[in-house]
């Protein structure tokens, strides 16, 4: 932290923390990041973490197998609550992915230098989150082997999927998102894969990284095409940041169920997605920089900026909650009013208050610079916000479905062991993939960091 006191009376000029600590060269940046993949031995911490998460993945597979054997009756869902954990978890996971795309695409187009050291693992987080998210809509159908019915293909049934249904839009939104994210991530990795290939310690690594590098030689032609492709993909990915969660919100907003049928849903879902996504990036970045000593690359500037994004999107989300309430009463629709009261006083009210605490009240601490610069506090807060965003989806899905129009259609929802085991299993899958990622691929974009080195050495590192 390099705050210099301005002379009394002068306009206050704050010197921001650098996005890259000074003193780094091309070689030191490359060495430091590549070493995590190529030379660092597997520590006990990594092995223990991997073992734990791997067993959680086995729990996931077990739960899925049991689900396929027995059907969705093993979950707590029943009419009228046909959507339970599966949809809550789907929306939660897919939302988390959004921060990665925002960082890699929108911040790239806006020329935000601070994205450089966090974009790679944020994109990986996006991919893994989409993978976890994708499991749920598939399995909640009860017959996942029929999932291809959702794709439009010339079938012998002579009919097409119902294109007016948001559930079909979902299929397109999520599969496009997954594909573009994967391409974006992979294209961005190419120069780094070539670096790893050239520094590989054995034949096996050479072959793997060599094949993945697709013959990258670093020629001017390669760089030219690489940059065009990257820019194009950034342009393609940018609308996805907004569209994917908008479509997910349509799953609810297009239905006439009280509490779902509202126009605020698309913007407030997108804001919530970015909110939870940045929380997850922080959850991952803070241990990552600590364990692998990457504090020089992921500096306080990054953490501070991400905290500010969380604060901003958190306020949008808070506004969304407020408008939901306001519109319920302003519309005078008795079902909407009743639902709003059910959130405050119904059987699931404690979830709602927990949500307000996690998502609206706690993040207000981020107004204080002291909190934004306290790594431990940020880490805890990122976990709190992730919990809050999960609760938000639980409140939306469960309270509306348990309190439908007529009392005879009311019900209660109680998740079962298998609901939890599947959810915890996907958490395990996510973290396991992150574990594999940090040791298998450069978690920070080496080539972009080199650019940053060049940039910082020319301009002293104090620019925006």
């Amino acid at each position: 932290m390099s705050v210099t006191r301005p002379p009394v009376g002068a306009p206050e000029i704050r010197r921001l923390d650098p996005v890259l600590e000074p003193g780094h060269t091309y070689a030191s940046v490359t060495d430091k990041i590549a070493a995590v993949v190529l030379t660092r031995p597997l520590g006990i911490g990594w092995l223990a973490g991997f073992t734990l998460t791997f067993s959680l993945v086995m729990l996931l597979f077990g739960s899925l197998a049991w689900l396929i054997v027995k059907g969705v009756g093993i979950w707590g869902i029943n009419i009228p609550i046909g959507w339970g954990f599966a949809i809550v978890n789907f929306v939660w996971w897919i939302g988390i992915g959004h921060a990665g795309t925002l960082i890699s695409a929108i911040l790239f187009l806006l020329n935000q230098k601070w994205r450089t050291s966090i974009n790679r693992f944020a994109e990986a987080m996006t991919l893994f989150a989409v993978a976890c998210a994708g499991i749920f809509p598939l399995i909640h159908t009860g017959r996942p082997w029929m999932a291809y019915y959702m794709m439009p293909y010339p079938s012998t049934m002579g009919i097409w999927p119902q294109f007016r249904s948001p559930l079909i839009w979902d299929v397109f939104a999520v599969s496009t998102y997954g594909t573009v994210s994967l391409l974006f991530w992979f294209i961005g990795l190419l120069p780094d894969l070539a670096t790893l290939r050239d520094r590989a310690k054995n034949r096996f690594q050479q072959l793997i990284y060599g094949a993945l590098a697709l013959g990258w030689r670093g020629s001017a032609h390669h760089w030219h095409r690489y940059q065009s492709a990257y820019l194009l993909l950034a342009g393609l990915a940018t609308p996805l940041v907004l569209s994917v969660h908008t479509v997910v919100s349509f799953d609810f907003a297009v239905a006439i169920v009280p509490g779902w049928h509202t126009t605020i849903f698309p913007p407030y879902f997108v804001a919530g997605a970015i909110y939870s996504g940045f929380a997850m990036v922080l959850t991952l970045a803070i241990p990552l920089r600590k364990v692998y000593g990457l504090e020089d690359f992921i500096t306080m500037r990054h953490l501070d900026n991400m905290a500010k994004v969380m604060l901003a999107t958190g306020l949008i989300v808070a506004y969304g909650y407020f408008v939901e309430f306001f519109m319920a009463f302003y519309s005078g629709n008795k079902f909407d009013v009743f639902l709003a009261q059910q959130r405050l006083h119904g059987p699931y009210a404690h979830y709602y208050y927990a949500l307000i605490l996690c998502n609206i009240l706690t993040p207000q601490l981020l107004w204080f610079e002291k909190v934004r610069r306290n790594v431990a506090a940020l880490f805890v807060m990122s976990l709190v916000i992730n919990t809050g965003m999960w609760l938000e989806r639980f409140v939306i899905v469960v309270i509306s479905l348990t309190r439908d129009f007529v009392p005879s259609a009311w019900g209660r929802y109680q998740p079962t062991f298998w609901d939890f085991s599947t959810f915890i299993g996907t958490l395990g899958l996510f973290v396991m993939l992150i574990f594999l990622f940090v040791r298998g691929l450069p978690a920070i974009a080496i080539s972009e960091m080199r650019e940053l080195v060049a940039h910082e050495s020319h301009s002293g590192g104090d620019h925006k």
């Binding site: 293909y153 010339p154 079938s155 012998t156 049934m157 002579g158 009919i159 290939r197 050479q206 072959l207 060599g210 094949a211 697709l214 013959g215």
Partner: protein, 219 residues
């Protein structure tokens, strides 16, 4: 530094791009073709029966009406498989000692039904009713083909859902006058388009929306 890969790797890389698109496309096309082939639909596959009963002989040569054996086709969902006694109406006298009819006589003696093999199998989740089709102007041969020329009955139509829907979306093309329903050789006349419209009005056919609604067939 020695090259990691042989020069041929360049070709492999380019070919894999091409191959993914072309081979993937071919594989998908293949699946779609197989789904329509007799291997899946059983179209035009003859089945062995306990007695090699020839519809060609009984319908084509002898001119026996469908309803002589399939008695409930006009009034019930199920057209009906005749009891052995119906066969014995004639075969107690005709060909009453030929070897290949022994299973028939045995069935008559022991009062055990002949286990005919079902040829037209619809999925369990399809509600199909013969009588409504017969009474609304759809003739037997529209779906079953020229039964009067089949020594052993086979499925003349694919029985896929798109095949059902072809007609449910445009029934006029197949509507016949009442007296032509059981005519195995009926061909649509030149003025079928006009006649079909008139017949549709006469039979009070439901609208296409109703005829293609999910619950019309999946109840």
């Amino acid at each position: 530094m020695a090259q990691i890969f042989h020069r041929s790797a360049n070709f492999l890389a380019r070919f894999s791009l091409f191959g993914t698109v072309v081979l993937g496309g071919l594989a998908l096309t293949g699946v779609l073709v197989v789904a329509r082939s007799p291997y899946i639909t059983n179209e035009r596959v003859s089945r062995n029966q306990p007695i090699q009963f020839s519809h060609k002989h009984h319908v084509g040569d002898e001119g026996i009406d469908c309803r002589y054996c399939h008695t409930s086709v006009e009034s019930s969902a199920y057209a009906g498989i005749p009891p052995t006694k119906t066969c014995m109406n004639c075969h107690s006298v005709l060909f009453n000692n030929v070897g290949y009819l022994e299973p028939l006589r045995e069935s008559y003696r022991t009062d055990q039904s002949i286990q005919w093999v079902k040829v037209h199998r619809l999925a369990d989740y399809v509600y199909f009713n013969h009588s409504i089709h017969i009474n609304k102007g759809i003739g037997c041969s529209s779906c079953h083909g020229s039964i009067n020329q089949m020594p052993l009955v086979f499925q003349a139509s694919p029985l896929t859902m798109s095949w059902c829907l072809d007609c449910h979306r445009n029934p006029q093309a197949n509507l016949r006058p009442k007296d032509q329903i059981f005519n195995m050789d009926w061909k649509a006349p030149a003025d079928q388009e006009e006649a079909g419209k008139q017949l549709a009005a006469e039979y009070k056919l439901r609208t296409t929306v109703e005829l293609t609604s999910c619950s019309t067939c999946h109840r």
